[in-house]
């Protein structure tokens, strides 16, 4: 009905003139509103007005159809296609923002009530209930936080130096046509696509063969994360080191500075902000991994374990996964709360890491004067 109104207001398209008819500037907004109202009427007619998502989806489709027809009547086929595609990519973009907002909102909504200091810092997972004389589970993620920090920390300690040094070799030492350089660059690219669960299986197989069958421990999980983290780190540092102008290196060489000192004091020093950013993003990428840690470090619901060499170790992501999929039969509410709480905590950590990375990049970015 809206679209009919708009059409009636349009002057008839002048045929065969240099300037073909154009739709008014804000037509997109009006058509979109009209489409949403029409979609709402349709859903109200079926009695499903509460199904907001379907309502929006139908509105988007109606909007696209309406704007396409309208434009092809007034503006001609070519401009109509142009307008249609533009509307299409805008809808596509909105479509991607919805899941982002929706995931964050869902986790905050479900997890915010759980997130208390008691939940985060209490190391005890069980409690003796005085009224029923039973030992009951208490929601708390302190063991998982410790496990996350230990496993990710070990992985970062191994991966960051290796990744950095490999990047230095690729950019500073290897000749562009060096066969090993080509192979390593290629393998790093391919390694970024290794499924994370395969990395977990690798660590499990490694420890099964070296230590003994069925070994679950934190170090094993850290090794799995290294497989995922090293290529990210190499890629990020390579990009950053390439940005250092050649003149700086040449100036250092001209002063008689040896190559390794040039690299450490000039090249790495100049790109330090980018390197820190890369490391942060690499950590943020692996800290939320679930599958490899579950495979390599196992899972324990109650035990507190801060020893990466012995015994199963939990992380926030694994706690969230196991507690939701396989809740404790006697106290499902406690385990579910734990799942949401640890998911929210994980998101907060990842967002903080990303923000630090952004801030470091913005604060210490080399000020190019060009």
């Amino acid at each position: 009905m809206m679209t009919a109104d708009v059409q009636a207001n349009q002057p008839p398209a002048p045929a065969r003139t240099l300037t073909t008819g154009r739709l008014p500037r804000l037509i997109d907004v009006w058509v979109a509103l009209g489409a949403l109202v029409a979609a709402a009427l349709v859903f109200a007619g079926f009695g499903h007005l509460d199904y907001v998502a379907g309502w929006l989806a139908l509105g988007a489709v109606l909007y696209l159809v309406a704007i396409g027809i309208l434009a092809s009547i007034v503006e001609g086929r070519r401009w109509a296609t142009d307008r249609f595609v533009r509307s299409l990519v805008i809808v596509a973009f909105l479509l991607a923002i919805i899941p982002l907002v929706s995931t964050l909102w869902t986790v905050v909504e479900h997890g915010i009530t759980t997130l208390t200091p008691q939940f985060i810092f209490n190391p005890e997972k069980t409690q003796f209930d005085r009224t029923t004389f039973k030992t009951v589970l208490v929601a708390g993620v302190w063991p998982a936080i410790v496990g996350t920090l230990i496993i990710t920390g070990i992985a970062a300690l191994i991966s960051i130096p290796i990744g950095l040094l490999a990047a230095v070799w690729l950019t500073e030492y290897a000749q562009p046509n060096h066969p090993v350089r080509k192979i390593v660059t290629f393998l790093v690219d391919v390694m970024t696509g290794i499924p994370s669960i395969v990395a977990g299986l690798f660590a499990f197989a490694l420890f099964s063969l070296l230590v003994g069958p069925g070994t679950f421990n934190g170090l094993s999980a850290a090794i799995a994360l290294c497989v995922l983290m090293i290529p990210t780190m190499v890629r990020a540092s390579e990009e950053m080191i390439k940005l250092v102008p050649l003149e700086l290196r040449e100036a250092a060489y001209a002063l008689g500075v040896s190559k390794w000192r040039t690299i450490v004091k000039v090249v790495l020093r100049t790109s330090v902000a980018g390197l820190v950013t890369g490391a942060m993003l690499a950590i943020a990428r692996v800290i939320g991994e679930t599958a490899p840690i579950y495979i390599a470090a196992g899972y324990t619901r109650t035990a507190f374990n801060a020893d990466p060499l012995h015994g199963a170790m939990s992380t926030l992501a694994v706690v969230s996964f196991r507690n939701y999929v396989d809740p404790d039969p006697t106290q499902p509410a406690v385990t579910q709360a734990e799942a949401w709480g640890s998911a929210l905590l994980l998101i907060i950590i990842v967002v903080i890491l990303n923000l630090i990375a952004r801030l470091v990049a913005a604060r210490f970015a080399p000020k190019a004067r060009r």
Binding site: P99, I197, L209, P245, A251
Partner: protein, 347 residues
């Protein structure tokens, strides 16, 4: 920390003249050079060793399970954790899983890739310059969300969201095999898993194709616009031909990600070892990664080896996909671009 690069380089000069000169200093720096070269080239070699190690250790652990006759093997026919019960051999067990993996990833690509390329186009050619950086960052943020969070989100949001759609598709389009069968009441359908998987592969496809779109020579774009092309015609004539291989490889990299993604499928979809293309039922083909995540905790030693063998197969498949993708990228991004200009006959 606050010194600018130029100051750091200049500051090295005067200090260096004060340093001890002569043979001793040269020797020290020679040793330092050699140690540093050794360390950094060692790190590069280590990467190759790690990748080879992944393949070798998986192979060693998986070999017995691949070669074994499963029906004769007591551990594999164990009834307490009987997920390997009744299979003749490894291939019998893994083929429905492989089908499920490829089918789910294909669905995710079908849903995700067009949207992802649309977003990339929006950010590179439609959004105002000032905000396009922020919009790109928003999409990248989607990549930072941990997969377990997507799993939870899929359970509480996507499942109920798709519920009415499932009913609608089933009752009106049930004659299409895809939408036939009994609709899953809880919503643990493959469609729900594929939708979440599609969201998870959006960022990788978007970020790579965005990069390529932005690299289109602006002369090509301006030439098209100067000839009176609309923006879409300009994109079709200048941007797409330039970016074609980049788009293909970004989609392949998205496929590689989808193949190995575990949590979205493991948490959302109710799995079975079957060949089925029905999207809306409770009986969905399991994927390799999700199957490992679901079964590994309760597996005995031999069963764990069998799961590792399926993981090895997943590794091989995703390695091959990534290899092809990177090969396409590498072929086009290095060296001068050869553009096919139609040869004109001399007048």
């Amino acid at each position: 920390m606050t010194a600018t690069p130029a100051a750091a380089a200049n500051g090295g000069g005067p200090r260096n003249t004060g340093a001890p000169t002569g043979l001793a200093a040269m020797k020290v720096s020679k040793v330092g050079d050699r140690v540093f070269l050794g360390l950094s080239s060692g790190a590069a070699w280590l990467i190759m060793v790690v990748l080879a190690g992944v393949a070798i250790f998986l192979l060693i652990q998986a070999a017995p399970a691949i070669g074994a006759n499963w029906q004769q093997n007591a551990a594999l026919q164990d009834r307490t954790s009987g997920f390997t019960l009744g299979f003749a051999n490894f291939w019998d067990y893994v083929s429905p899983l492989l089908f499920g993996t490829i089918w789910a990833s294909f669905l995710a690509l079908l849903l995700g890739a067009p949207v992802a390329i649309g977003i990339a186009l929006f950010i590179s050619h439609y959004a105002p310059r000032r905000v396009s950086g922020i919009l790109g960052y928003l999409v990248d943020l989607l990549a930072a969300v941990p997969s377990v969070v997507f799993g939870l989100w899929g359970i509480v949001v996507i499942r109920p969201f798709l519920g009415p759609l499932n009913e609608f598709l089933n009752s009106y389009f049930g004659w299409i095999p895809l939408f036939s069968g009994d609709v899953a009441k809880g919503g643990s359908t493959l469609l729900a898993g594929a939708v979440v998987l599609a969201v998870m592969i959006l960022p990788i496809i978007t970020s790579i194709s965005r990069e390529i779109f932005l690299q289109t020579p602006s002369l090509h774009e301006e030439a098209a616009l100067a000839l009176g092309a609309t923006r879409w015609e300009m994109i079709r004539l200048a941007v797409f031909p330039y970016a074609r291989s980049g788009i293909i490889s970004s989609v392949l990299l998205g496929l590689g990600r989808a193949l190995g993604e575990t949590m979205a499928i493991a948490m959302i979809v109710s799995p079975k070892l079957i060949f089925s293309v029905q999207l809306l039922t409770n009986d969905n083909p399991a994927t390799i990664a999700a199957n490992i995540a679901n079964k590994f905790g309760g597996a005995n030693q031999t069963q764990a080896d069998a799961l590792i063998a399926t993981g090895l197969l997943l590794f091989v498949v995703s390695f091959a996909v990534n290899l092809v993708a990177r090969w396409i990228v590498g072929r086009t991004s290095t060296g001068p671009r050869r553009r096919r200009i139609p040869t004109r006959k001399a007048a």
